[in-house]
Every structure is written in C-alpha cells, then in structure tokens.
C-alpha cells in the first residue's frame, strides 16, 4: 500500500551488535549456552522435566571446573527473576548438592549473600523470593530445617523491633508468611512445635499492629459482597487455613519429589546466623495494599472452581499473575500470551483470575504500578487472543463494577471512567446501555448516572458529538454532553448591551488583519475599568477585568478551530497576556473568561490551562484558587476540573523534581572534579579533553560553587512554592468541608450527601495521587491545617495518608 522500500534489517541498533561478526572464544560461547540451558529449563520440551533436570545437572557437574562462579551466579539469579520456577531450581541445586557437598555449601553461602544484599539494597521482592528459595532448599535437603527456622525467627525478631516504621516490620512478617506454602509441610513434619511457636509469635504481632491505612487503600467503602482485606490479614487467614489442612498444598509443582530417594541421602548445610540490616532513614519499604476481589466462585460458569478467598491457591495464583504482568508489561502481546497459557490453566477459571488481577492493578491505591493504558491495552489484546471467552468476562466485570459504583472511591471512579471510555473507543462504542437505564431515575450527582455522564464526556473526546445519536438509547438524552462549541457572547443575542462589544468587534478585525500585540493593547485601552471609581483610584495595578474579558474571549474564540489554532493565538499574543495578568486576581480572571467561553468544551479548557501554565501566563496557585472559587461551584464535582487541578500539581512537582535533579547532578560533579583535580596534575587536566564534564545546562565546564549555590536557592524557592500550593488546596478543602458539616449539623440534615462524598473523595485523591510529594510537608500540614480540633471526618483522611508510611 505504500512505497516505503524495504531495506535490509540493519536498522536495529541492538540487532546490529548481535549480527556483527566477532571473535568469540569457545569459553564465551560455552558460557552463553550454559546460561541459556539453565534459564530455559522446564520450558517447552518433548522430554520429561525430570530427565531434563538430570541431564542439565550432569552437564553442570562436568562444567563446574571451568564455570563454577558463572553457574553459582545464574542458579542464584534464576529463582529470583523467575519465582514461579523456584522449585525447578531448588531441585537442580538439590541434585548437585547430593553429588557434590562442597558445591552445595558454596551455593548456600552465595545465596545467603544474595539475600542479605537485597535486604541492604531495599530490593524487597528479590529478598522475598530469595528467602523463599532458601526455604525450598530445605525441601531438597540442601539446608537444615533448624537453621531455616532460626532464620525465620530472626526475621520475626526484626518485626518486633521498637522505633522502626511499621511498614518495615510488616514486610518481615510478610516475607516469612510467603515462604510457608513452600516449606510449611516439611517444617510441620519435622519440627512441628518450632513451627507452631513461630506462628504464635506472628499472630501476636498481627494482633498488635495498627491498620489505620486500610481505609485509604480500599477500592469500595463497603465490604459486601467481597471484603477488601488488608494484605497481611488476608495472607494470615490463608496460612491459617493451610495449617488447618495440615499444610497439604497441591498447587506448587515439586519436581524434587521425583528425586526423593537421591535427595534424602544428601547432607544438609546450615545457614549462618543472619542479622537483618538495621533500619536506616533512607530505607523505603513497600507500602501496604488491600487484596482486591471482585469475583467469587458463583460468578463463574460451570467448570473449574475459583479457589476460595482464603485458600492458599488463590494467593499463589494471584502472585503469579501479578508477576507475569510485571515481567511482560513492556510487550502487551507477550503479556497476554503468558497470562493465557499458564501451566495450570485447566484447573481454574482462568479468564476470571486474569481480569480480577488486572483490575486489581488498575485500581491499586494509592496509584497503579504502571500506566493505566498499559492495562487497557493488555485487556484489548486478551480479547483479541481469546475472543470466545474474554470479552464476556470483561463485560461481566464491567457490570459488577457499575453495580458497585456507589461505594467506589473517587480515585478508582476516575480510572474506571478512563478505562471504560478507552475500551469502548476500541469497540465502536457498542454497549448494552439499556441494561443500565434504571440509573436515569437517580439524581445526576449520584455515582451511577455521573459515571455514565463522565464516560460519555470522555467518549466525546474520542469521537464526535453526532456519534451519540447512533450510540445511545433515547432515554439517555439528559446525560449526553452538549456539543463542544464556544459561547462567544459578543456575537450572540444581547451583545449590543454589553460594555465590551464594540471593542471586541474591533479587536476581531484587527487580529484578522494580522495586527501585533501593541495594537491589541491599544484597542483594549478604550475599555473603562468598571465598578467603584473610588476603588479604581486606589489600585495601581493594570488589572482591568473588562479588558481581560474582551481580550481573552475574543482571542480564544478566534482560535477556536482547533488546539493548534488556540495555541498559536496564545503564543502570538503572549505579551498581551503577560501585561494583563500581573496579579493572581488577574490570572484568575483570565481563567474565568476562558471558562465562560468554553464551558461546554471541557477538553479544550484542560489543554488551555495546561498551556497557560506552561508559558507562565498563570501560576499554579492561581489555578488552585480558581478551582475553589465561587464561580466554579457548579463545576466542582465534574471530573475535568480535577483533571485540571491534578495537572497543575503535577507541573509544580515536575518543576521541583527537575531543579532537584539538576542541583544534585551539579553537586556530584563539583565533588568529583574537586577529588580528581587534587589527584591529577594541571597539565593532565588541560590536555585530556575527556576529563571535561558536562554541566546540567549543557556547558562543557565543571560547575562553580557559586552556580551550585544558586541552584540550591532556586530549589529552595521551588519548595516554598510547592508547599504553598498544597497549603492553598488543603486549606480550601478544609474550609468547604467544615462549612458543610457545620451547616448540616445546625440544620439537622444528614451530612453524607453526594456532594460531600465527591468532595471528601477529591481530598483523598490529592493525597493519594501526589503522596510522594505531599509527604515531604506532612509535619507542616499537621501543625498548620490538620490539627486535632478539626472535624474527625476530615482529619481521618489525613491520618490514613500518613499511616501509609508509618
């Protein structure tokens, strides 16, 4: 279809490197073959896993002489990178240990070091998988049960330390619990009382811990039909059930069972005593989460049964699915394939498990791991690859989510709207809207009709207004958005009576004739400052609301054809904007006039505000104040307004992050050049051009102390601005929420209105979406705003937020 000539595939940089002919030593080739063999073991093969393992083990045995360290490294990395193959690698190590005790000892030492290193480097998943692997090595007679129990006990000791963050302590218990599916049975058979003691210690710990963070992480505020369990609570319940079943666990494949006669002859090693690295302030621990559930076995058609909420299988399956998404998030096709071709897919209602896990990630609080569109596109790919089942399960899930939307938190509500509109846009917007028409009887602010309204607004952005006539049943007319047209009052009926009309018309002519900024300002000078004349004499600013009104509405209307036209207009008359918008009040006036013109085109307003911030016509604080202004009360619960607020906060955050990064880079360079200049002669430095380092601003010289100081000052100023922005926002929230609560109290009304829920939801959303940046100012917020005299409903949101990192 096109004439692009196909060239030889020499374009891919990485491909090039691979294809370059180079001399490889036989050793290097051998190493690579070994690595591949080890990495691939257990994957598609005609022969049985057992014979593959035997074969590979004897190959490795014979190669130990030359490749010992490489083999040690790969065998310790694989169970961490591919945790679902843990038992395959432990079997291999077990077999090698049976033949070669010394190798076994070396390996255990190596693995212990790997585990300790990952703790030191705060690589929590790697550490957990390493611990699990060490535990599984007990099953293969490589490690003694005693020494494993000792290790697990010292992990629980770490959980019982004082004066360390709860998130740290929680992690240590979580790590121990997540080894038990693998090694619980063995410990139960060999060391039952020690295992019981361990569990008692854990139970005591769990009973003492606070779960203030729980509510912040819940997707729905009610527990019916599925409770949103805190992650440790859930795992504990699953382990308790496993224990009730005498630790009989059938899900994990255990190749070592086939080699029991060989392995039980092996001598075991003891793990040296390990002291978990003590807490440091710089250490960051994983945040807690809730276990997201939306299905139970009654939702699934006849067939394989969905394992119960407290079965250990559910935990193992979910962990596996999450890990597949993590590994294959870069390639959606691969991700879908790996999800759909699980080795145990016949035993479970696979599509339900997959859909549940993907929505778990999408709705994860405080924020999803990956881009929302990543999950959306994986779901589309799954529908493509499994067209007979996946679309139906997805439709069922959407139904369930819609039915429960009344109690869904606001952050997740937004994500659901974004996902559903995106998904519909890939499937010609086909949906059984009639099924939902009971929502039309509810108030517009109720979550159900509001969801549909917001979805339609997003669908409008993906398509065009006339599409709705085809799309929606008649009854939905009241929820369909208005056509996204500008409302230019100066050319509408009644314009004659407006004070700015004459100037507006002159401006239109002038701009169409390609006038410049000065000409525009001259035209605007005709406009009087309206209002109290005594006021105008006192103010010295050039803030003239009428000038702003006429200019902004006229210019933006002239550029209304497309985003590009609008941006070009703003760019061309940037100086006019700047001269009119010197104060925050003036900037808010600009925003308000934009709103008057574009009230029916939400997307346009979002991109305009983004642009105005980018070219520094308005400041972040002005946008925040405008969002909470009286004029915007009617828009307050609409999604787009919060889209605007969040993009404003993000811009501020990016600004701070950028300055911080630049300053740190400059500081590093300064420190490094100070070191190197003391250790090299002047001659060397001047004749060796490679010593020149690039500054953050691209200049070729090393930064001076003065420059670094100035960067520090800039960063300090940015922090002040950022803090101020958060203070403005939180203060406004507190004011309007308190007002509402007090008023309801005095009037004897129920405070829990739709408006209240949306507003408190938006407050929580600010905390969650920007938690990393907000937490810098937690103590200021606590001291200035979220004080103990505040209404507990409001204060609670703040406490839940701080509990995330406690």
């Amino acid at each position: 279809m096109n004439r692009r000539r196909a060239y030889e595939d020499d374009g891919d940089f990485y491909g090039e490197r691979n294809k370059k002919r180079r001399r490889v030593s036989e050793n290097q080739e051998m190493e690579e073959r070994l690595e591949t063999l080890i990495l691939r073991v257990g994957e598609n093969s005609t022969s049985s896993l057992e014979s593959n393992l035997e074969g590979l083990v004897s190959v490795l045995e014979s190669d130990l002489g030359n490749f010992r360290s490489k083999i040690l490294r790969i065998l310790s990395e694989c169970p961490i990178k591919m945790p679902e193959k843990c038992t395959i690698y432990s079997t291999m190590v077990g077999l090698m240990n049976a033949k070669n005790y010394n190798f076994g000892g070396e390996f255990v030492e190596y693995m212990v070091k790997t585990f300790k290193d990952s703790l030191k480097q705060c690589q929590w998943d790697a550490a957990r998988y390493a611990l699990r692997f060490l535990a599984d090595l007990v099953n293969c007679h490589v490690i003694s049960t005693n020494s494993l129990l000792q290790l697990l006990d010292s992990m629980v000791d770490a959980a019982n330390e004082d004066n360390v963050p709860q998130v740290r302590r929680d992690w240590y218990v979580f790590a121990v619990l997540s080894t038990l599916p693998w090694v619980g049975r063995e410990l139960y058979e060999k060391k039952e009382s020690a295992l019981e003691n361990l569990l008692v210690r854990i139970e005591v710990f769990l009973n003492k811990r606070t779960k203030k963070h729980h509510n912040a992480l819940r997707v729905w505020s009610v527990d019916a039909p599925h409770p949103q369990e805190e992650y440790l609570d859930c795992l504990w319940a699953q382990i308790r059930k496993l224990r009730q079943d005498n630790w009989t666990e059938k899900h994990i494949p255990r190749p070592y069972l086939a080699f029991d006669s060989v392995l039980c002859e092996a001598l075991q090693h003891n793990i040296p005593v390990i002291h978990p690295p003590p807490h440091q302030d710089s250490f960051e621990y994983p945040m807690p989460w809730v276990v997201y559930r939306m299905f139970d076995y009654t939702d699934c058609p006849p067939g394989p049964i969905l394992p119960g909420a407290h079965s250990i299988e559910r935990f193992l399956i979910e962990e596996h699915l999450h890990s597949i998404i993590e590994t294959h998030r870069w390639e959606r096709k691969d991700c879908a394939i790996h999800l759909l071709y699980l080795s145990y897919k016949e035993k479970i209602p696979l599509e339900y498990c997959i859909v549940e896990v993907i929505f778990a990630e999408l709705f994860h609080m405080p924020t999803p791991r990956y881009l929302e569109i990543c999950y959306g596109s994986i779901l589309i790919e799954l529908c493509k690859q499994q067209p007979s089942k996946m679309p139906q399960v997805l439709a069922q899930a959407t139904e369930i989510l819609f039915m429960r939307i009344d109690s869904m938190n606001t952050s997740c509500f937004d994500r659901f709207v974004n996902w559903f509109s995106y998904h519909l846009s890939n499937f010609q917007f086909r949906w059984s809207w009639d099924d939902w028409d009971s929502c039309l009887l509810l108030e517009n602010e109720h979550p159900r009709p509001k969801f549909i309204q917001e979805v339609l607004l997003k669908c409008l952005r993906f398509s065009y207004h006339d599409r709705f006539k085809e799309m929606m049943p008649e009854g939905y007319a009241k929820l369909i958005p208005k056509p996204p047209m500008p409302h230019y009052k100066y050319s509408m009926e009644g314009a004659a009576s407006l004070p700015g009309t004459a100037t507006a018309h002159k401006l239109v002519v002038a701009i169409r004739q390609k006038c410049n900024a000065e000409d525009v300002l001259n035209e605007l000078n005709d406009l009087p400052i309206l209002g109290d004349s005594s006021e105008t004499e006192m103010t010295e600013t050039t803030f003239n609301p009428l000038k702003i009104d006429v200019f902004v509405q006229t210019l933006l209307n002239l550029g209304s054809k497309s985003f590009s036209h609008t941006f070009a207009a703003i760019s061309k008359f940037h100086t006019v904007f700047k001269s009119l918008a010197e104060t925050e009040e003036a900037q808010i006036c600009i925003l308000h006039n934009m709103f008057e013109l574009w009230v029916d085109h939400q997307q346009m307003m979002v991109v305009i505000v983004d642009k105005l911030l980018k070219v520094q016509i308005v400041e972040c604080s002005a946008v925040a104040t405008w969002v909470f202004s009286k004029e915007m009360v009617g828009e307050f619960t609409k999604m787009y307004l919060w889209e605007i607020l969040h993009l404003t906060i993000k811009k501020m955050n990016q600004h701070v992050t950028k300055l911080s990064r630049e300053m740190n880079e400059a500081k590093d360079k300064l420190a490094r050049t100070a070191e190197s200049s003391s250790s090299e002669s002047e001659d060397e430095a001047s004749t060796n051009p490679q010593r020149r380092r690039k500054n953050a601003d691209g200049s070729g010289e090393k930064p001076t102390e003065e420059q670094v100081e100035r960067m520090e000052e800039k960063l300090e100023a940015a922090y002040v601005e950022q803090k101020r922005l958060f203070l403005i926002i939180f203060q406004r929230f507190i004011m309007i929420l308190s007002e509402h609560l007090v008023k309801c109290d005095t009037d004897g009304r129920d405070y829990d209105t739709d408006w209240y829920r949306w507003t408190i939801g938006r407050l929580q959303q600010v905390f969650m979406m920007h938690h990393e940046q907000v937490q810098k100012y937690s103590s200021t917020l606590e001291g200035l705003l979220f004080t103990s005299d505040l209404d507990p409903h409001i204060l609670d949101v703040f406490h839940q937020f701080t509990a995330l990192r406690a």
Partner: protein
C-alpha cells in the same frame, strides 16, 4: 531536552523498516535520530480524525508537546497522518507499546518513530497532494476519500503496493 534511550529495548520500540527518503543526512544519522527521538509518526488515520481525538488518546501515555496534522499539499486539509511529539522519550515509547495497533476513531493506527518534525514534512508527498499510499491503493476506504487516486482517475492497472 536530552532524550534518553530506554533501558528496556523490546520489539515494540524497535525501529521499523521505514526510512524517510527525503531525510537530509545519511542513513546512519537518520537512525541515530530515530533512536533518540520522542517524535512519532501516526499513520492510517481517517481524514476526519481531529487533533482533539489524537490528543486525548496520546495524552494517556504522557504530556504531549505538540501535534502536527498531516495535510494535503494543495488542499491543506488533513490527509490521514500526523506527528505527535512528547517531551520525554519514555512517553513516546509507551505510545509505541500501548497505542500502536489499537484503534483511534475506529481505525487501527500505526505508530512509528520519526526523526523529528521539520517544516514541510507535514505535507503529503503523493502527486495529487495526499499521501503516497493513497495514490496507488485499490481498496475503497471511506475514511480516506474512497478509492485510491489512480483508481479514481480511471487509471486501471495501477501496481498493487504492499503496505
């Protein structure tokens, strides 16, 4: 602004076989730019797809710096392609991974690396003003002006071009 090569190079973000014939510079230079680029070429759009629709979809991968609509050289109307520029290369990579091969305005769109927008590149290079592919194609595509130009002008026997 320096764009960094992603640390995760997987097939979705690899260069395609297409190279711009009008590029001013060597093949090597073009490829270097493609590997650092945060500009994308979007193809197979309908003539009626708007900047707004493109913006909504591509914003889901990150902040869009600008969109340049591809135009018919003579009519100056959209002719079914555009350029999307991000600030960060990472965001452009996300678009390659998650948007390429999905639908926009009901059509499967193609997302590919572009060496960078230069004035003039927004115009179709086909003889009749649109894209070259619309000169020769023989199918009827309602969103792209119906039949290909050569078919429309009654010039049968137009060579079938592979996409």
């Amino acid at each position: 602004m320096a764009s960094q090569i992603s640390a995760v190079h997987t097939p979705s973000v690899a260069l395609s076989k297409y190279r711009d014939q009008h590029f001013k510079g060597s093949r090597h230079e073009q490829e270097k730019l493609l590997r650092l680029s945060s500009t994308l070429y979007i193809g197979n759009l309908s003539f009626y797809t708007t900047e707004e629709q493109i913006h909504e979809l591509f914003s889901r991968c990150g902040d869009v710096r600008r969109i340049v609509m591809g135009l018919d050289k003579f009519k100056k109307t959209p002719c079914g392609f555009c350029f999307v520029e991000y600030y960060a290369r990472m965001d452009a990579e996300s678009a390659m991974r998650y948007i390429n091969g999905t639908r926009l305005d009901d059509r499967i769109v193609r997302v590919d690396w572009d060496a960078g927008f230069v004035e003039g590149r927004q115009y179709g290079r086909g003889k009749t003003g649109g894209q070259v592919r619309d000169e020769y194609r023989q199918d009827h595509d309602l969103g792209r002006g119906g039949y290909g130009k050569m078919v429309q002008m009654g010039q049968l026997g137009a060579p079938t071009m592979r996409d």
